[in-house]
Amino acid sequence: MRNLTSLNNPFNDDKDFAGCSIFGMMNLEGKRFSSRDPVRAIANMHERGNGLGGGFAVYGIYPDFKDYYAFHIMYLSRDAKEKTDRILAGSFNIIYDEEMQTRPANVRDPPLVWRYFVQPKQRRLENQTEDDYVTERVMRINTETGKAFVFSSGKNMGVFKGVGYPEDIADFFCLEDYQGYLWTVHGRFPTNTPGWWGGAHPFNILDWTVVHNGELSSYGINRRYLEMYGYKCTMQTDTEVLAYAVDLLMRRQHLPIEIVAKIFAAPLWSEIDAMESEQQRLHRVLRQTYGSLLMNGPFSIVVAHHGEMIGLTDRIKLRPLVAGTRGDFLYLSSEEAAMRLVSPTLDKFWHPRGGEPVVGRLRSEPKVEVLASVEA
């Protein structure tokens, strides 16, 4: 028999060299663009992942259904679909549903993936807001059967993810058919959690998504804190807590990203001690109130929701993140080369400092401003 090792592994590597890759691309005017550039960019960082996870979050993809919550649900069994359909039918008016368009691709054991456009049943809302109602139902579906997972639940946006390299996931979900004004992408190298379909990034609740490079050693504490607010962690991996934490802090508690960044990546006590007294008080209060949401461990993340894309690293920058702008585009990436591939010339390119967020906002929003912490 032929020795296949020399074909598959001509350089005799006995080790995987890797780290996750993240990429974000946003048109600040809200103009939609295709998957071409995001896919090329993440594929350029192929080396960082190992094929055990890849995914995309795309904003502005369902303009015809923009008033309805778009659920993407993965089913690991037919049985789970029946049960889930019953929950959905009882809680929502289902406007439209279909099996998501997929094609055979280089991905591992794809589950059944289904898309629903739904509207909460008004008489069931009681005192809840629609968003809270949806969050609660998503948690219920995710925990009820153990075989059905809502991996996307926002309006006019969608998450596509699974086990494979991101470029293969794009192929599987036929992403060339979609257009969005904001794309975030992830290539995964799972460190200490399983590489399964639900565990791929982005993580999502409502229209909030997170892609993450690094690991959160504070996962246990973060998870217990979030459980008090009704968030149930079911995806078997650390990054999930970040998605729920931004939903809690930014959507429900209306905190601005500048404050949220100081909760996730709090300054060191020694730095707080050196601050002016007003600042010192603020940071002490934040650490006392939200100590359980401190994200400990190395991370770089791209957080997105409608109208906003945010890049952030841990306070001592143990994972890479670079930023660039060109015309109406803001780019965030693990590596500069990926950005240069899609935009060889950049108006501005910089290395954000640890713990300081890079924020891109749609210009047409009421509070118009492009981008805060540009220091270069």
């Binding site: 080396e47 001592i316 920058k317 590596e335 240069r340 390119f349 290395h351 400092r353 640890g354």
Partner: protein, 267 residues
Amino acid sequence: MLEQEKIFAEIDVNYISRVRMEKNVWKIDAEGMHYKELNNLLRLISSNGAERIEIYNVCGQRYIGTDLETDKQIDIYGTPGNDLGAFMNGPKIVVHGNAQDGCGNTMNDGQIVVHGQAGDITGHSIRGGKIFVRDDVGYRVGIHMKEYQRRVPTIVIGGTAGDFLAEYMAGGIVLVLGLTLAEGEHCKARFVGTGMHGGVIYERDDILELGKGTKISEIGKRDLHVIEGLVREYCEYFGVDYETVMNGTFHKIVPISKRPYENLYSH
């Protein structure tokens, strides 16, 4: 000519159209090429006595120039990937653009000249040779750099540096010029030289905030001699006026102790 033909005969058939030889300069089009293939090509070409190599359309390929020996110049157009020149032992790499993270990782000898910025951990554990960066560098530059006898690694930073510059430095020279800073502006780096126990950091004007276990002192004649040599080289590479750069006050930052953590685990 025979030598060249021999090299061409050995190049992978998929990449033969990517390699040209003009006036003793080897030119490689690296567009879409995997880093292993690119580095294989470099090894092949350089082991057959090439003196100048130019690589075009570089976009994220890692480890370029790794473990290459002998004196030669490699010009890179585009954005080289992480760990540029890692373990390199002799060549000079000129980057016409920015360098990513880990440039010069554990380099043994040679030079890397970056016409732009360089990322985090530039010169990580560097043991010899020189790195010149025209503009700013990222976090943890020069971490764990070390020297041995006449082998003194050197990193010259034209702009500013990120946190943990020269952390755990055991030897060698770091020179920070701060040319991208505005008048009176300080470098934002925190924890400069934390855990440092050998080597020296030179700063132009008072731009660095000292980390624990380091002290600042005036420069002597020998220091000035070293600085002048490095600044001259920097100015030559990047076309900067020598007098303007030297028109500043240089200080040196050195460790207080050779064993800063001697008593960390004992009482």
